[in-house]
């Protein structure tokens, strides 16, 4: 398979929602150490809303799914990460106008637009100990890969490495910023979520195409 249509995308969104829900408590714990302890609760609640909304949508287009997800994340979650994860989806939605299936290079462009949206909204750069530290390398790895199979795999690995890299960083954005040096040693929850999402996408792709994970 070398393109993704609306039905596949819907399946992917469900898989993402399921994965963050599993990690709810662990993400809350990371956020308790760095912020206000709610990241797992809010991200899982928002993805659950988005998944339910997308599931309820009868005939869906790529754009309608992407846009609904954006809106559910923006409005079903609130907080900093609602705005940022929402912006991720919102930024790429325009590119999906009239598109029926996404080839790998189109998906790469969609993800890139999302990254840019997050960075424009949140002003975080790589190294600021935010979700951007996982998202930027994942988007780059995705673009650099040859096909979907490679792309999801490499993106997941890059996101995980990027999330892990936040451990040694001093936060420069979000609530964690005020912790300064005391934040060293703890992995950023938003970056961790990004890693989980790319890993879930990778697993979903492998289940879909029946490749061994």
């Amino acid at each position: 398979m070398n393109s993704i249509g609306a039905e596949e995308l819907r399946g992917m969104l469900m898989a993402l929602a399921a994965r963050v829900a599993e990690e709810r408590a662990a993400l809350n714990r990371l956020d308790a150490a760095l912020g206000d302890g709610d990241h797992g609760s809010s991200i899982s609640a928002a993805f659950a809303l988005a998944a339910a909304d997308c599931a309820a949508l009868g005939e869906a287009s790529l754009q309608s799914l992407w846009l609904r997800t954006a809106k559910m994340l923006l409005n079903g979650m609130g907080g900093a990460s609602g705005a940022l994860f929402g912006s991720f989806f919102l930024s790429g939605a325009r590119q999906l106008q009239g598109v029926e299936r996404l080839e790998k290079c189109q998906m790469a462009a969609l993800l890139r637009a999302g990254l840019e949206g997050v960075m424009a909204r949140g002003k975080a750069k790589v190294g600021d100990k935010t979700m951007v530290d996982a998202l930027a390398p994942a988007v780059a790895a995705f673009a650099a890969a040859d096909d979907y199979s490679q792309a999801w795999r490499q993106a997941a690995l890059a996101a995980r490495a990027g999330a892990a890299s936040t451990r040694s960083l001093v936060p420069r954005q979000g609530r964690a910023k005020y912790l300064g040096e005391r934040a060293i040693g703890i992995q950023d929850p938003g970056a961790t979520t990004i890693a989980l999402l790319f890993e879930a996408a990778d697993t979903w792709w492998r289940n879909l195409t029946d490749e061994k994970t």
Binding site: G35, D36, D38, K71, G78, A80, L84, Y178
Partner: protein, 335 residues
């Protein structure tokens, strides 16, 4: 002491809506509820600037208790400790629009600012004009002098809400309202401390750990960590530690006139707060800083956290008059 993890609620998922229903039922002479919007029971006259604030819930009586005459027109309640999303902020702005523009107040936290910015972009896209936002902050522990705009909003914004609310009862323009908010903000400084943690009513999890004999100075309004831990001190010594950095920050100097707030974060007793205030009054008198009015009580809480914030606002004749103007919110009454 550990936090009280068992709360007297029904289901965690329903707490915000049930709380809003209860609050608006109790104070139906002052407010009415529309979804997640707490609005004045009697809207302000047309032709006046509307005042809106969105904020995470869990800080009661803030901000529900600040809707009413001489205060806010609309409060948009988010989930616990979570800024509301842009669509509901836009709804709130629409509801507060009396034809003379709407000012969206943002107590500075990343989530509140980001959602407010998106909401303003949505307003522009939807042709709702004459809307602006003002970013408010007061917590000296969250960034050094010179980088005030990076600071968090905490209990001291109490002064800004009150004065701005009074100001917007008059015939002022949106830009005048924003300027007044900035003036009040720029004269306000706060510092908080806590002796105990609290539990999230949603997860039941303790928000942070703290030893029974320790205190944290500089807590944020959501239990975010402050400037550091140390052994807890008696009341007077605690004030002696916290007041000087506040005074130096603005700086407040001899001859200044100030409003003072000692805000209860949750489960400190008023007895403790009055004892603390005694020392504040002594120290300010010694520094030749005159207290115009003082308020001691629970105005912006962090659940049942046992701590307090000390806030000062330097006032001139304009700000004093606005402070003294009548107000009638459930949590803020000025005769």
């Amino acid at each position: 002491m550990t936090a009280r993890q068992h709360k007297l609620i029904n289901q965690p998922a329903a707490i915000v809506d049930e709380m809003l229903a209860g609050f608006c039922a109790a104070y139906s002479d002052i407010v009415r509820l529309d979804g997640r919007l707490v609005q004045r029971a009697q809207p302000k006259a047309a032709g006046k600037v509307g005042l809106v604030i969105g904020n995470g819930s869990g800080h009661e009586p803030a901000m529900l208790g600040w809707v009413g005459e001489g205060l806010f027109d609309v409060n948009i309640a988010g989930e616990i400790f979570t800024a509301p999303g842009p669509d509901s902020i836009v709804e709130g702005i629409r509801a507060a629009d009396r034809g003379a523009g709407v000012l969206l107040c943002v107590s500075h936290h990343a989530g509140d600012r980001l959602n407010a910015e998106i909401a303003l972009e949505l307003c522009a896209a939807e042709g709702i004009n004459n809307v602006d936002m003002v970013l408010l902050y007061d917590d000296i522990s969250s960034a050094p002098p010179g980088r005030e705009a990076e600071r968090r909003g905490t209990a001291g914004l109490f002064f800004v809400w009150k004065m701005l609310g009074a100001y917007c009862e008059g015939q002022v323009s949106l830009s005048q309202a924003k300027a007044l908010a900035e003036k009040a903000r720029d004269n306000t400084r706060s510092l908080a401390m806590s002796l105990s943690s609290c539990a999230s009513p949603v997860t039941g999890e303790v928000m942070f750990e703290i030893a029974a004999d320790e205190m944290e100075i500089g807590m944020g309004l959501h239990g975010e960590v402050g400037m550091g831990r140390q052994k807890s001190l008696p009341a007077d010594a605690t004030i002696d530690l916290m007041l000087p950095p506040i005074l130096q920050d603005l700086p407040f100097t001899a001859g200044d006139e100030v409003l003072v707030l000692l805000n209860n974060s949750g489960s400190l007793t008023l007895m403790e707060l009055y004892i603390l205030y005694r020392r504040v009054a002594q120290k300010l008198a010694a520094a030749d800083i005159r207290v115009y009015k003082a308020w001691v009580g629970a105005y912006a809480t962090t659940q049942e956290m046992a701590g307090f914030a000390l806030s000062l606002c330097r006032v001139d004749a304009q700000l004093k008059a606005l402070w003294d103007a009548p107000a009638n919110g459930a949590a803020m009454k000025q005769l």
